[in-house]
């Protein structure tokens, strides 16, 4: 009887450990470019001036391509502003392979269909000098395997597409998390630690959720 009890306890512990391990693997798999980094990776928000959008309609009109789909893979890209590798503060982006599951609007002239693969430049990257993930205006990289609605724009010199309005043009379609960096604990306010929500982005994304989700 005692032996049976021990066996059950051991199985229970092993099952628990296996589950924790599987959850850990799932979490670390979300971003390949971050997986190999050693030590604690910081988050750096680089602030830029954006024209922004006041409504979903404006975003739709300004986006030649609107699609649903999933990210398959990604590659970190560094750009050395002075043209000399390792010199100065790097800029960069993440080049992501994306599979389309539904085309909502296509004015790119590429006649994109379901299951087509496109390349998207995302406005976040890993900076090895700082051991930090750099987020342009708080943009968070898409997670692999998760479904997104994207408002995209063309680049003149290549087929690589970009997310329109950076934080405006990417909407996760699974769950309620809008994947925007909460700046609440990253800023110091004049006389409090509160931070007003980025209501313009939330307004546009909420409109997109109501229409497309």
């Amino acid at each position: 009887m005692k032996t049976t009890k021990k066996v059950f306890i051991t199985i229970g512990i092993l099952t628990g450990l296996s589950l924790i391990f599987l959850v850990y693997l799932d979490l670390t798999e979300t971003n390949k470019s971050q997986k190999a980094h050693v030590g604690k990776v910081k988050d750096m928000i680089v602030d830029g001036k954006l024209e922004g959008y006041n409504s979903l309609q404006g975003l739709e009109l300004d986006s030649p391509l609107i699609v649903k789909g999933k990210k398959l893979s990604s590659e970190n890209k560094l750009l050395w502003v002075d043209g000399i590798e390792g010199n100065g503060i790097p800029d960069g982006y993440t080049l992501s392979e994306f599979e389309i599951t539904k085309v909502i609007k296509d004015e790119t002239g590429r006649n994109l269909k379901e299951n087509a693969h496109i390349q998207i430049a995302e406005a976040a990257f890993y900076n090895p000098q700082e051991n930090a993930n750099v987020h342009s205006n708080g943009y968070i990289l898409m997670k692999k395997g998760k479904e997104y609605l994207l408002f995209l724009a063309k680049n003149e010199s290549s087929d690589i597409l970009k997310v329109r309005g950076t934080v405006f043009g990417k909407l996760p379609l699974e769950g309620n998390d809008l994947e925007l960096i909460d700046k609440g604990d990253k800023v110091i306010n004049y006389n409090s630690n509160t931070y007003e929500q980025d209501s313009l982005v939330l307004k546009v994304l909420n409109e997109a959720q109501d229409k497309y989700k």
Binding site: K42, M44, I45, V46, D47, G48, K49, L50, E51, G52, L79, W80, V81, D82, G83, G88, I89, D91, G92, Y93, T94, A121, E122, A123, Q129, E130, A132, S136, N137, A153, N155, S157, S158, I160, K162, V163, R164, G165, T166, G169, K183, K186, V187, I188, N189, Y190, N191, S192, T194, Y195, E196, D198, S199, L200
Partner: protein
């Protein structure tokens, strides 16, 4: 009982006052994010691009902050290594760029770097271009984007423009707070 009621009323009024103020204020970068300049009255910049009107826009964007008395940009230098701020154009044409410009920083160096992107050239007037430069220099000085309720009194608004060539009241208060 009466005293308790008066105390409660005063507390409510005082709290409302604090909350109102806290939601209408500029935002400053914490030191853990971006180090502020240690010698803010002797700042220099370097323009690393000869593209278009960058030289004059850089001069306007920096000198616009000089009336604060806490900050003085003394002009351009030819060597990027000695400059407090490097201003350049995105010659690499970052394919993800949707911003007009961005201000980069390092955790180990006081020097900041402003990169103007292709969107800058798509702005349809020179006032917006200068406002962008003033805005980015504000980041270099330690100001984050202001809260949205302050948009009309701040060049540090994240989205859109006020069509101004100089910092506005919220920005001045902010830079006085930083230095």
């Amino acid at each position: 009982m009466k005293k308790a009621m008066i105390s409660l009323a005063l507390f409510v009024v005082f709290s409302s006052f604090l909350l109102t103020n806290s939601s209408k204020a500029y935002v400053i970068y914490p030191d853990s994010k971006q180090k502020k300049y240690t010698n803010p009255t002797a700042l220099t910049y370097h323009v690393a691009s000869s593209a278009s009107d960058f030289v004059s826009v850089s001069a306007k964007g920096t000198s616009a902050w000089n009336p604060s008395a806490k900050v003085e940009w003394r002009g351009a230098v030819s060597q990027p290594g000695v400059a407090d701020l490097v201003i350049t154009y995105d010659a690499n044409q970052n394919p993800s760029a949707e911003t007009v410009a961005q201000c980069f920083y390092s955790s180990t160096n006081l020097q900041k770097r402003i990169v103007f992107y292709k969107k800058y050239f798509e702005l349809n007037n020179s006032v917006k271009k200068t406002e962008t430069a003033v805005h980015e220099v504000g980041h270099a000085l330690g100001l984050d984007h202001t809260q949205e309720s302050n948009n009309s009194i701040a060049v540090m608004r994240q989205y859109g423009f006020n069509e101004t060539l100089t910092p506005l009241s919220d920005d001045w208060t902010g830079v006085y707070r930083v230095y």
